[in-house]
């Protein structure tokens, strides 16, 4: 069974981006993927900021990244960029921590004017971590979620397509070859 780790990276407790990640994790599971959700705000902040990978919480987060076939990155849009919390976590990973993996970037944001921030800001970082396949990124407008942070009908159908592509990428035959090369 392919595995996916969803990393959500909003500092806020009732987070839209975490809600989208959670929805995606549930949908992936019902599609036969072993998916888990890690909220970065729940990690102990001082070893996180100090990049202390010997700390048990950080160590197990890093291991979860290493063991996943696919990574779903969920971030809020802050000042036309992905969150600082996400960057703090990506910074403590090893240089090619995403080697051989498929990565799906998702952002929530208030303005459609900032859609390209994922492609300008996050995509190059994910490539530099050695990702094998970065899927088309998805920008979710706040207005596409209801008050209980559930995706509206249009977003649900978009997500169905996006998660289908993601699942497909997890199983693509060239993945094993890439992993073998990077091992």
């Amino acid at each position: 069974m392919p595995t996916v780790l969803a990393l959500s990276s909003s500092p806020s407790r009732s987070s839209r981006s975490a809600a989208v990640a959670e929805y995606a994790v549930t949908a992936l599971r019902s599609g036969g993927v072993d998916a888990n959700h890690l909220r970065l705000r729940e990690l102990d902040p001082s070893p996180l900021l100090a990049a202390d990978t010997t700390h048990p919480e950080i160590e197990s987060a890093v291991r979860a990244v290493a063991e996943a076939d696919g990574i779903l990155l969920a971030t809020p849009t802050y000042k036309a960029a992905y969150s600082g919390l996400l960057k703090v976590f990506l910074d403590l990973l090893s240089q090619f921590a995403f080697a051989g993996k498929a990565v799906l970037p998702i952002a929530t944001g208030g303005s459609p004017a900032h859609v390209l921030s994922l492609d300008y800001g996050l995509r190059p970082v994910v490539h530099s971590l050695g990702a094998w396949h970065v899927l088309q990124s998805l920008f979710v407008l706040d207005s596409q979620l209801d008050e209980a942070l559930r995706p509206g009908e249009q977003l649900r159908s978009t997500l169905e397509g996006v998660l289908g592509d993601f699942t497909h990428a997890l199983q693509a035959p060239s993945r094993t070859a890439t992993i073998a090369r990077s091992a």
Binding site: A80, P112, A113, Y120
Partner: protein
């Protein structure tokens, strides 16, 4: 006319504002957007008893010369005139259509063939049109980066118009903000001070500004020889 800020003289004819439009359709919304910004700047200037003269470089007419300049480094007659217009410009409104989430190739290519030091210190308003608000960041990520390389004084307000923005009051308000920034930058005389007092501090390519880039006189015998000409016969000077 005396500059209200620092008392320096600006040309008696007023400020020279140049519109560069990369729009290719006819009529072009990219051109229309730039024209609206230019008109608003002229109107604001009029209210302050100042004058702005607008000239336009429509890249549609230069497409063939731009593409041959890209491969041959030779400027055709229209492109040579456009470069002269920009050299004399006090301010520029640069307006591009967004194609495939980037400024159009024609727009980018035009700026690629200009000398790197042609636009140093000149005030620039960036403008772009697109079919979708989703491409708004093209202005800040791509166009601002290009003009940073060209070392222009790019105004903080850029004007982006997606199809749905044309009838909104917000676009008009933004145009007003950008136009006012342009006017204040023109009044400051920034680019002229840079050119007159600090030009040698910038990196230049040989010949890019006809000799002024190096603070040397290309008309001396030595320089005429050095640049492949012949020295004047002795005694003829």
């Amino acid at each position: 006319m005396t500059n209200p800020i620092d008392g320096t003289e600006t040309p008696a004819t007023g400020f020279r504002l140049v519109v560069v439009s990369g729009g290719t359709s006819d009529p072009s919304s990219t051109r229309l957007l730039a024209d609206r910004i230019a008109e608003r700047t002229a109107r604001l200037a009029g209210e302050r008893a100042e004058q702005v003269h607008v000239s336009t470089i429509d890249l549609r007419d230069l497409a063939a010369e731009i593409s041959s300049a890209l491969v041959s480094q030779l400027l055709g007659p229209k492109l040579t005139r456009a470069v002269a217009t920009l050299r004399e410009a006090d301010g520029i409104i640069a307006s591009a259509p967004v194609y495939k989430a980037a400024p159009s190739g024609l727009f980018s290519s035009f700026f690629h063939v200009l000398d790197n030091d042609l636009l140093i210190g000149k005030p620039v308003i960036l403008a772009a049109t697109a079919g979708t608000a989703r491409h708004a960041l093209v202005v800040d990520n791509e166009m601002r980066a290009l003009f940073a390389y060209l070392r222009t004084l790019t105004a903080p307000t850029a004007v982006f118009a997606a199809s749905e923005d044309w009838n909104s009051g917000e676009l008009g308000a933004r145009i007003g903000r950008a136009a006012f920034e342009m006017l204040v930058l023109l009044e400051s005389g920034f680019s002229h001070k840079i050119e007159n007092e600090s030009w040698q501090r910038y990196q230049h390519e040989y010949g890019s500004a006809g000799g002024t880039e190096l603070g040397i006189d290309l008309g001396t015998d030595l320089m005429r020889l050095a640049t492949g000409g012949s020295a004047r016969p002795t005694g003829s000077s």
